[in-house]
């Protein structure tokens, strides 16, 4: 029973990792929070749902949702960040403008779905279970684990081994210096937003499918989970985010199973607040947080 819960936690944690990676990547590059990331996630789930509804196979819907979420994320950058970045102190304005885009996307989704909770039609994904070492694991869970591993691997390869990845890291380190060396910051922002959005879109589809519920407000809790992951795992750290997300998934599965499902989120956030008291730099010791002024 315990091992089963841990397995379920690892699977949902791996989806959180996908979502949180994009979130932390964006923050690492532009030093501004994107509160519309949850809405992009929700948009991914909606797009895949409507693809399946009009009769396309699930895989096509997944790929289409991935690309479309990436494009939506680019639009988010254009509307919420392009102008704001020029302001003297863009930190708070960016919170406001990205929240604004978030609200617009939520409202569109609300009108599309008439405020209903949607769910993928029965049989969208084959329901099969396997027994491995006494654990029940579904085909969907196996596919999720493989897909997440592949996407995270691709992201690491992209960031570490390609010229684009080096440009992204250069802009993250110092935008001005990168610009002097001929790196186009605008193109780097577009790319990172596309990648983050695509990852969020896939995460949205997977969450929508595994919990069988797609809702216009579904993005909000995941934004908070991403925050937990970033604080624990460290900003911009890919391994930190993956470990923290899986830790979060397991903690959540265990609190839901053994304590209370109503209070599960409250317990997780309270644990985070307590953790902040004892590990001010996050659990992985990166200087994420600072009591002093390091605004710039």
């Amino acid at each position: 029973m315990l091992a089963q819960q841990i397995l379920n936690g690892v699977v949902s944690g791996s989806i959180y990792a996908l979502f949180a990676l994009g979130f932390t990547l964006l923050f690492g590059v532009q030093k501004l929070l994107n509160l519309a990331h949850g809405a992009v996630f929700m948009a991914g789930a909606f797009i895949a749902y409507y693809c399946v509804i009009i009769g396309l196979p699930f895989w096509v819907g997944l790929v289409f949702a991935m690309i479309a979420s990436g494009v939506i994320s680019i639009i988010v950058e254009l509307v919420a960040f392009r102008q704001i970045r020029k302001q003297v102190d863009p930190e708070f304005p960016a919170i406001v403008s990205s929240l604004g885009v978030d609200l617009i996307l939520i409202n569109i989704a609300q009108n599309l779905s008439n405020t209903r909770v949607l769910s993928m039609p029965f049989g969208t994904f084959p329901i099969e279970f396997y027994n491995i070492f006494g654990l029940r694991i579904s085909l969907l869970q196996i596919v999720i684990l493989v897909l997440v591993a592949a996407l995270v691997g691709a992201l690491v390869y992209y960031l570490q081994k390609t010229s684009f990845g080096r440009q992204v890291r250069a802009v993250a380190q110092n935008e001005r210096a990168a610009a002097l060396l001929g790196v186009s910051a605008a193109s780097v922002y577009r790319q990172t937003f596309f990648i983050a959005g695509a990852l969020a879109g896939v995460a949205g589809v997977l969450i929508g499918l595994s919990f069988n519920s797609i809702h216009f407000l579904m993005g909000e809790p995941y934004l908070l989970y991403a925050f937990v992951v970033v604080v624990i795992g460290g900003i911009g750290s890919v391994p930190g985010a993956v470990v923290a997300a899986i830790l979060l998934g397991v903690t959540q599965a265990l609190t839901k199973a053994y304590l209370s499902s109503t209070l599960s989120d409250a317990i997780i956030f309270s644990l985070l607040f307590v953790a902040l008291l004892f590990f001010p730099n996050g659990l992985f010791g990166r200087a994420v947080l600072s009591a002093g002024g390091d605004r710039k």
């Binding site: 501004l32 929070l33 406001v96 403008s97 908070l224 956030f269």
Partner: protein, 300 residues
Amino acid sequence: MIHFYYSYQPVIDFFLLSLGFAYSQQIALRAGVFSIGTAGFAALGGYLVAILATRTEVPMWVIIPAGAAIGALGGYVLSIPLARLRGAFVAIATLAFVKVIIALALYFEDLTGGAIGVTNIPRIMDTWSLALMALLVIYVNWSIGRTTLGRIFAALAQDESVAASLGVSIRRYHMIGFMVSGAIGGLFGGLQSLYVYNIEPNAFGFAFVVTILTVVVLGGRTTLLGPIMGAGIMAILPEVARPLADNRTMVNGIIMILVITFLPRGVGDTIVDAVRHRWRQRRGASRPQKQEVADAVASD
């Protein structure tokens, strides 16, 4: 005038309530804390007042300040872990705080009534008492602006490192910012309970957070006029155009983006700045030696 009052009374009351919440939101921003936790403070105050008013015989003059006190306590407790967080992350952390409060309200059904909430709260607030409380909050905000505390807040909001180098304890003053924000939020949460008969957890969700933030961004984040303008416009907007009321979420979003992009200081702050600027120019022309003094005062 009387006719005007009766037909628009709900709008005026809504304006006064959101004015109070807006000052709670604004004082945090004035102290350089990116808190959007006002909804959580309002829920704390609202529930305490609702429970005390329906289950005990405690007199009102104790109950209402108790709402403010629990809000301040919430702000104090919240500020301790959040002192470690960097600027923008405080925003999400306070959103998580709101979620925790709502989850607790849903869980402790015996006390809070769960999803149904507390009903049959005596309605003792009317427009005039709400207006009186709003004036009180405006007075408190005005006095804070006149004291050292206000100047320290302004310094923190402009540049934390400079403030720290001048010997200001960031942690201590952010804590005070949280507590004042919590007290005002708790007070108005309580007043809202005593005005609308009932209280339920989802009233303090994402929509509440966003509405109050829109009011402050639209109005202005530093001046007293800001929340008045913001709350005023947001109260009148649905009356002016019905289609806007149906898509309130989207209207909020569009206002937030447009204002923060093209009028980043908000309507109220921009007006105050323009008036101050003209006033200073006129004074400067007649008495040039006062210019420096005026600048020094303004830069506080």
